[in-house]
């Protein structure tokens, strides 16, 4: 199976940017982050000690509608918790994340937004890393589908997710917490537990390697799981950025 591809800092004007492409779902998302910036219409009455996180999702071929408002809300609540909005220079300011869906099937009115949610989350994380926004943890996401016969497919294709009986998006932090769960369609709790287990494996590799992500840097590099993918992308980028130094040494 071909894994996703990503690149960092594609845009020169934004503070940070990233593009992410997932071959199985076909989604290609370009994200930019500007932080910290002064927001014009900020109401200080609301949490003056924290940064405001704003997320904008722009679909490729139409204007943003109610579905985008919904997915923006999910991204905002999740990222607000991960971004350290009380750091010096961030309080009372804004972190603006703009995500443009530049490839893949358009999400129709009333369709499930879960298929594209992982790509949006990964892109925003990479863009935040590229913008060097302080975060308490990174995360990785997985999309899983449960078929009518009860099989669990990870990274389902658009056809699979159309016919699936339930769809699940889970995000795990780099410390192994369950950060986000969005499940849709009829299922029972035992199914969800096995979905969670499977998602944990796709996100973080084997369950044993999970407990301390920061220390086990060397062993975590194994390919195949999403956490390692984020790390590799950032490592590659840093390597490219510091080529001059590495070469001269």
């Amino acid at each position: 199976m071909v894994g996703p591809t990503a690149s960092l800092s594609n845009l020169s004007r934004a503070d940070g940017s990233a593009s992410f492409k997932c071959p199985t779902t076909g989604y290609n998302v370009l994200g930019s982050v500007n932080a910290p910036i002064e927001l014009p219409a900020r109401r200080d009455a609301l949490k003056p000690e924290e940064a405001t996180v704003e997320v904008f999702v722009k679909p490729g071929n139409t204007t943003a509608g109610v579905g985008e408002r919904y997915v923006e809300g999910i991204l905002r609540t999740m990222l607000q918790k991960v971004i350290l909005g009380r750091e010096r220079g961030f309080a009372r300011r804004g972190v603006v994340i703009t995500l443009a869906i530049i490839g893949g099937d358009a999400v129709q009115r009333g369709d499930s937004y879960l298929t594209i949610l992982p790509a949006l989350l990964q892109t925003s994380l990479l863009a935040l890393l590229s913008a060097a926004v302080p975060m308490s943890m990174t995360f990785s996401t997985a999309l899983l589908a449960v078929t009518k016969s009860g099989d669990i497919i990870s990274d389902p294709s658009p056809v699979d997710s159309k016919t699936a009986s339930s769809l699940h998006v889970l995000a795990f932090s780099s410390k192994g917490h369950l950060l986000l769960n969005e499940s849709q369609g009829p299922f029972d709790f035992d199914t969800w537990e096995s979905v969670r287990e499977r998602a944990y494996t796709t996100c973080r590799g084997t369950a044993v390697a999970g407990s301390d992500g920061d220390i086990a840097m060397g062993e975590e590099g194994e390919e195949g799981h999403a956490d390692g993918f984020i790390r590799e992308t950032v490592e590659d980028h840093l390597h490219r950025d510091y080529t001059w130094k590495i070469d001269s040494a």
């Binding site: 408002r69 919904y70 809300g73 609540t77 999740m78 350290l84 308490s136 769960n181 499940s183």
Partner: protein, 402 residues
Amino acid sequence: MAAPAATAAPSVPPSLSLPPSQFARIQPHAYLLAHLSPPSASNQPSIRANGRAPSQFRVTSANAGSLTHTNGSAVVRIGDTAAVCGVRAELLHTEDIASWSVSQASSSNKRRRLADLGEKPTEEDEDEDPEDDRAHIEDLNLLVPNISLSTGCAPGFIPGAAPSALAQSLSHQILSLLHSTRLVRADDLRVWYQQPNLGPEEPERHNENEQMDVDAEQSATIEDKPREIKAFWVLHIDIMIISLAGNPFDAAWAAVLAALRDTKLPKAWWDVDNETIVCSDSVSDARKLSLRGLPVASSFGVFEADAAAGWRANVIPDATEQTQTGKKGSPERWILADPDGYEEGLIQERACIVVDKQKDGKTTIVKMEKNGGWTVDTEDLRQLVEISAQRWDEMKRILDQC
């Protein structure tokens, strides 16, 4: 802080204590925390500031058929959150659907293919395949929910303003839940036209001896005659939140559910001579929608004693052990069912679970969301599903009575 108290009652010596209502406004977090974790010396139970137990929902009432000009309506009140929902049915002629002939051909092909494969419909009492259902309801947008918060329901929402992000995202959630639960059957929304049998069998009908045979034959010919869809009912589901005190989704969804259960569609048929759809005036001809199941939504919020605890544990590695040990001693977070407006302002992590129960009492989760934090995991979610299942019984009772 003591100054207003002192001026209000000059005879009393100035004290540094505040009335509870002022304390609640000045230090909302500490106020709720003080209620949830009373000092162990006092024998008070841990209750929320609104007097409810952590897993207790607000008093819910529902009233169906409140609006006369709609096909179905309901008012649902959960505590101080009130939602009015009206369902209005409009006819959509198939000749007005641009892609009708194309999509119709493809869907009948699909049906035939499925029949060839011998695939059984998955639903227990299904006589139509779910793909067809989806094709009609979702692709033709036969369900149009819209939620309005611009009614002056809460101070934060300006009346008459454009739909806020919250209202838009609620609209989407309701629509996608209507689609994913497949609550409304497409068959209820179709207006069929059966071409009359103008064949020469009429005279044979009087033959008493061959009655059975003829009937069988005739029904066979009816099957052969093309039975076509002439129109669809489009259900416009409008929800107004007339008072918002937290948890708008549960109230709105309950209102939609109650209104759809109340919805009656008039009998409609294709009039060949006028080439139009005619509806019957009489109420006795109208029929109710037969909904699939009764999905009930329950929302939860997680109140953390120390909102920064999670950060500290992750930012300062040494702090992890301390919080780990501290966690054992006292619960540092409470999962509050059905948070009200006051609590919602103090909550970051939320969960929303929609469950349905089958006839044999088995609970099916239809939607499970959890976002905004990292304290809720498998065990908590399992408990929340159980609480939601209990809530389902309660809501079923309330909705059955209305």
